[in-house]
Subunit: 422 residues, 2 copies
């Protein structure tokens, strides 16, 4: 399976011994896993296998108590004083600095707040406004044609409002599409559907060589693998905090504006939180310096401080170890799927090459809706991407090799029960 | 004080008997207050007087338990299933429908999500795009010159991105400024600084007569007084939920798009949540029908469901009773201030006429920073609007007449201690 997308399948009669050997192998891998102890930090039970952390990360066990303090003491007792004394006001940039090392950014370049969609709008319009006005011929926004759709929708709105056209481009063909008309390029680091990891260093360098700016969407890579924003010279980036960063349902997204661009970053959403002196309540807008310029309105404190608490699980965790385990988990899952799944029923859409793989496995399966429903009924929680993709996310902080084996085994069983479509 | 802005002041030697009579009067008013029992629904203690609910509403007592369930059970156990089974996905429009009756809107016209600033952007750009393209001469956006600053900043960005100029106009002079060039008018229902209530019915009618669209900011009126969005024919509106709606720090704002405009409402932030079939993950955007079209990205569930819980306190509450108590409270506070404050030290910026008054009292005071600090040290929590405004918010659901009397008495004491500036 390591070099082929098609699962070869194996005769059913071999399953019993294979089950045992793969289960034994899983146990060995788990016992050698240096991140294994982190699982205890999360509210997870052995009655199910949660492989949907790429949609909603699991709850870190200590978060409820922290949020309770935010609500009962900070809101309930201190009330308005918490904005200053409780650190509410500075939460967006403080939490941004907590996320920064996880995506390879130095301090002062990330703010947390708003949804990913809103941040894509800030980033794309902001990037267009960073362009040299002496180069009006540079007028195209290239957008990942396989993007999670909201990026495309929002980029199109940003393009419409800045007067530039959108050019959808498959990331595989992006390098060939770059040219003297390229203004801004918006790409996903990891494809939400296939789990394909795009070449952030190579694409960013090529974009710069073409004289354009690179905006990266890190929704499916932040917390799953090293990103290296500063080292690779990324211009702007957005990301999600409720997937591999476990911030909670709909927790606020983040915006990265590289330090060298901050002084000229001109947000299309210059709310009062981006003002250099918000409480002056001046009718004139004077943008704050630094990452704060990316803020808009009053931050949603409950969601934001739940995220801040959730980030504690990263204390002392090496992203290199996370990446190593992620690849080992997805390799092992593919191996198990190859062993357990009836031949020809599923086909991996996720690249076999490590350099091209994020932290999920997407399997194409004609009967995907029925199969995923049956898996969930058995406690194996992945998700469906219509019409025919089974998606399994592997969060190295809490997913065990035993979970991968159990999920693949259940998939094999379900596939024998759900008849193949003609 | 009822007809004059200047507090007349009274000789100090009368204070003792006045204190008693006003304290007695407060007790009588409280015992006759039909909303008095609602205070028990909130986490408030008698060691302080909280008059900052127009900045951050107090915590309803039952909210912590509800949020705990959202975190530990819905997120911690059900995890991704809560998006469908737990009603997370439909929360923005469901909670919008809970807010609707509080602002005089029928169902299906309000969605909750994003900050007020982001919603101002949607509303102003959306309003411009609703204009008849056959009337290109209608090209001015009139903006309340005394607005809470973020509305002005964002309106200017919306104007820049739609190519229309902004014209700041004092709401008092708005009717005279309307004309054939007026495209959109953005006004605050209640002025954040002075507490002045603007004439929503009259201004809306005049805006329509001029052929333009009216966008109202309800931040300081939603939950404080009847608004009548549908009855007055308001076109679009935005509002805040963490002031008089007690949704919690930074809880999401709301957007109202009148039903008659929804089919043509063209959001500048068309995120995937506004798509007619978001999980089709289509590269092409097709806007959802109805209020959902005002959504953008994934909603911040913790903040949103805390707000939903907080709205329970409105069960069976009459907004007419809320308004009546609000006016009685502010009248009484002004009467107490007149009785207790040394002559000439404070002057009310809030109109005496009920028809022009929101639910706060703003007192101009040369020594405002020192005075507010001293008040807060005594447990009387209002807030300062730099440089010289003392702001006291009166939330009829939980503020007592005794609180108003106690706050005014403390203000009188503080003013005798803080020397008047020359």
């Amino acid at each position: 399976m390591s070099d082929a997308h098609e699962t070869a399948g194996t005769p059913r009669e071999h399953h019993t011994s294979q089950d045992k050997s793969l289960a034994v192998q899983a146990a060995m891998l788990d016992s050698a896993d240096e991140l294994a102890a982190l699982r205890d930090l999360f509210a997870l039970h052995d009655d199910s296998v949660y492989l949907d952390g790429n949609s909603l990360g699991a709850l870190p066990r200590h978060v409820p108590e922290r949020v309770q303090d935010v609500i009962t003491r900070q809101w309930g007792e201190l009330r308005i004083r918490s904005w200053t004394e409780g650190g509410w006001w500075t939460a967006p940039e403080r939490i941004g600095d907590r996320i920064a090392p996880l995506v390879g950014a130095g301090p002062g370049q990330i703010v947390v707040g708003d949804s990913t969609s809103v941040n894509v709008f800030k980033a794309v319009v902001g990037a267009v406004r960073l362009l040299d006005p002496a180069e009006p011929a540079r007028d195209e926004i290239l957008v990942d044609a396989t993007t999670f759709p909201t990026d495309g929708y929002i980029a199109r709105s940003a393009a419409r409002m800045t007067g530039l056209p959108i050019v959808p481009v498959d990331p595989e063909k992006l390098l060939g599409a770059l040219g003297p008309r390229t203004a801004v390029v918006l790409v996903n680091h990891v494809d939400f559907r296939t789990g394909r990891l795009h070449d952030l260093p190579g694409i960013t360098a090529a974009v710069h060589e073409a004289g354009a700016l690179a905006v990266w969407d890190l929704c499916h890579s932040a917390g799953a693998l090293p990103v290296g924003l500063d080292a690779q010279g990324v211009d702007l980036a957005v990301g999600c905090t409720y997937k591999y960063l476990n911030g909670g349902p709909g927790s606020p997204a983040f915006l990265y504006v590289a330090e060298r661009h901050q002084a000229r970053f001109d947000s299309p959403l210059p709310g009062w939180n981006a003002h250099t002196d918000p409480f002056a309540m001046s009718p004139d807008f004077t943008a704050a310096d630094g990452a704060v310029r990316g803020r808009v309105g009053t931050p949603d404190i409950l969601s934001m401080l739940a995220l801040e608490a959730a980030l504690d699980v990263w204390e002392g965790v090496s992203l290199a170890a996370v990446r190593e385990k992620s690849l080992a988990l997805t390799d092992f899952f593919l191996e198990c799927v190859e062993a357990y799944a009836p031949p020809g029923r599923v086909r991996s859409l996720t690249p076999a090459a490590h350099a091209e793989r994020g932290s999920q496995i997407a399997l194409r399966c004609a009967e995907a809706p029925a199969v995923m429903a049956a898996l969930i009924a058995r406690g194996i929680v992945g998700d469906l991407r219509r019409p025919d993709v089974l998606r399994f996310g592997f969060t190295p902080l809490y997913t065990r090799f035993a979970d991968a084996e159990r999920a693949a085994r259940a998939l094999g069983e379900v596939l024998t029960e759900v008849p193949a479509e003609d």
